[in-house]
């Protein structure tokens, strides 16, 4: 029940506690307004990146400080500002609300709610630009962040505090990997932030629906700047998202942040820079486009125990044009991150989904975060696949193949089949270990690769119903590695299931 008397009292006490303070503010006059840019004369004490207030309640960001003129980009009110309007300095940079209250919400890059669920009640704020943790504040990446995707968790493992780039052409399933990773964090106490930069509103609404249907929205914040938002909004979106994730990191929690995608971010920054008449460099990007992304990605870190041991794992996404990873932005971001997951449209179209090209993908630090038993099992997988690919290209010429080559090819086919994984189906680590162990063993050499899909699904449910203790044993073997007996147990279960699968043919 709402007590009307109380509302009055509360309002009065709030007004009483309000202290209007007014230090002197420097002012200036708008000299030019166009393309979302304003030029201001005056404002002689303004600092770089300072938030400006324009008459009428609009905001701008000071980016160019010149002798007589300040160049700023407008965050709102582009069509409302007139020549001669007064501009006030605010003495602060842009801040965004942070806190647990943001989980389950969709916000704009300025922290305003976009989901119609009312005001965000958090009182905590953080500046969107914040310096990255110092060297001594950091710890080694040593805890795994499970994506639930077999090909990634086995061969390109990601650790908490790592920055792993997801790169590929359009329509190769980049966002799908990111969303699957968010879904897999359910119950693992990892707070997720999804930053949409210049995305279509329809795409974002799809993602929101998927997250909501899978109960993943309750631990996720979506920072959303759509294609209709002005370039400065798209430019600040990843920094805002990072500030939200930083709150969790500095309070000792694990956070996961997805930037979807940084190529659009670079484009929006290019728009602003060109309009501000900054000199253009390669591909017309300004000179500091590397710093644009490096300062953002450096903020992802694993903090040491003294600072609470929190972490931000960043999964930036970059879109390539026709598989060209040597373009400007892709090479920049590849060199900043701790590895990349490379998705190929050829693989995607041939039905290999997720379309991860294992040969070109690496994880530079995740290996130490992977559990020992998984490392043991997946150690050979990369080599096996490389061998298979080489032979597969060779065998396309249709020449006669000897028995050993045929064996490698069919084993490779089965392994590739095992790595296929439908969207929104995440494996646990134990399930992955079973699948990989069996897929690389001799037991299944009689199976056709077309049977692998049914076999894998059936095998997991078979073990689950007959010997669920195997999963527990696998779980406890994570630290010390997997024993030969345990391997044998899994193999015998797999053999049992093969007999079961082929019972109709034998009868």
């Amino acid at each position: 029940m709402i007590n009307i008397k109380n509302i009055g009292e509360q309002l009065k006490s709030k007004i009483n506690t309000f202290t209007p303070e007014d230090k002197g503010r420097t002012t200036g006059k708008v000299l030019y307004c166009g393309d979302g840019i304003i030029k201001i004369s005056g404002l002689d004490t303004v600092k770089y990146n300072e938030l400006l207030e324009v008459e009428g309640g609009y905001h701008a960001l000071a980016l160019n400080l010149e002798t007589d003129i300040v160049g700023a980009v407008l965050l709102d009110g582009e069509s409302k500002i007139e020549y001669g309007d007064t501009v006030y300095s605010s003495g602060r940079t842009i801040e965004i609300v942070v806190g647990e209250e943001l989980l389950g919400r969709i916000v704009s890059p300025l922290g305003e709610p976009m989901d119609g669920l009312g005001v965000i009640k958090s009182t905590k704020k953080r500046p969107i630009e914040f310096s990255a943790p110092a060297i001594m504040d950091r710890d080694k990446v040593n805890e795994p962040l499970q994506t639930g995707i077999l090909s990634i968790d086995s061969m390109i493992p990601i650790g908490r505090g790592q920055r792993e780039l997801i790169i590929g052409d359009r329509q190769t399933g980049k966002t799908a990997i990111a969303i699957d990773t968010i879904l897999n964090q359910k119950g693992k106490d990892v707070k997720c932030v999804y930053v949409a930069i210049g995305q279509k509103a329809s795409t974002i609404s799809n993602i929101v629906n998927i997250l909501r249907e899978n109960d993943a929205l309750e631990y996720t914040t979506i920072v959303c700047s759509t294609a209709k938002d002005p370039a400065p909004m798209q430019y600040i979106a990843p920094y805002s998202g990072c500030a939200i994730a930083e709150y969790f990191m500095y309070s000792g929690k694990a956070a996961l942040i997805i930037y979807d995608d940084l190529s659009k971010h670079a484009v929006s920054y290019r728009t602003m820079s060109l309009l501000l008449k900054r000199p253009a460099g390669r591909e017309a990007y300004p000179g500091d486009v590397f710093y644009l992304h490096s300062r953002l990605l450096e903020r992802a870190a694993k903090l040491n125990d003294k600072l609470g041991g929190g972490s931000i794992t960043a999964l930036p996404i970059v879109e390539t044009q026709a598989g060209d990873i040597s373009a400007y932005i892709p090479t920049n971001v590849i060199s900043i991150t701790d590895g990349q997951i490379y998705l190929e449209s050829e693989l995607f179209n041939s039905g290999m989904r997720p379309a991860v090209n294992v040969g070109l993908s690496v994880s530079r630090v995740g290996g130490s975060a992977q559990c020992k038993s998984m490392r043991q099992i997946s150690g050979q997988t990369r080599l096996n696949l490389a061998q298979y690919r080489e032979l597969a290209i060779f065998s396309q010429f249709g020449s006669e193949l000897d028995k050993s080559t045929q064996d490698i090819l069919s084993a490779g086919n089965r392994l590739m089949e095992t790595l296929k994984q439908p969207q929104y189906l995440n494996y646990t680590v134990e399930e992955m270990m079973v699948l990989l162990l069996v897929a690389q063993s001799e037991i299944i050499s009689n199976l056709n690769h077309k049977e692998m899909k049914t076999f894998n699904a059936g095998l997991l449910s078979h073990i689950n119903s007959t010997k669920p203790e195997l999963f527990d044993e696998l779980n406890s073997s994570k630290l010390n590695g997997i024993s030969t007996e345990l391997k044998e147990k899994i193999y015998s279960s797999a053999k049992e299931f093969i007999v079961y699968l082929h019972r109709d043919e034998n009868e």
Partner: protein, 70 residues
């Protein structure tokens, strides 16, 4: 010479005028040219502008500030 404008809703009485001039000379010295303006739009209080710096103590600004804090 620094240009100073003082905006109020009604003319200042002698006491307030002295206080205002003291404030201005503390901030900008004695080399100033003060212009007094009457503006009903600020609802009350005073706005002093010294060069490019504005000291806004008007009721209008306090109300907008209050609104932002809710």
């Amino acid at each position: 010479m620094i240009n100073v404008t003082v905006k109020t809703v009604m003319p200042l009485n002698a006491d307030l005028k002295v206080k205002t001039i003291n404030f201005i000379s503390k901030k900008a010295g004695n080399e100033t040219e003060i212009e007094y303006i009457i503006d009903k739009n600020i609802l009350g209080g005073i706005i002093i502008k010294i060069g490019d710096v504005v000291y806004d103590g008007s009721i209008k600004r306090q109300i907008t500030k209050l609104k932002e804090n809710f």
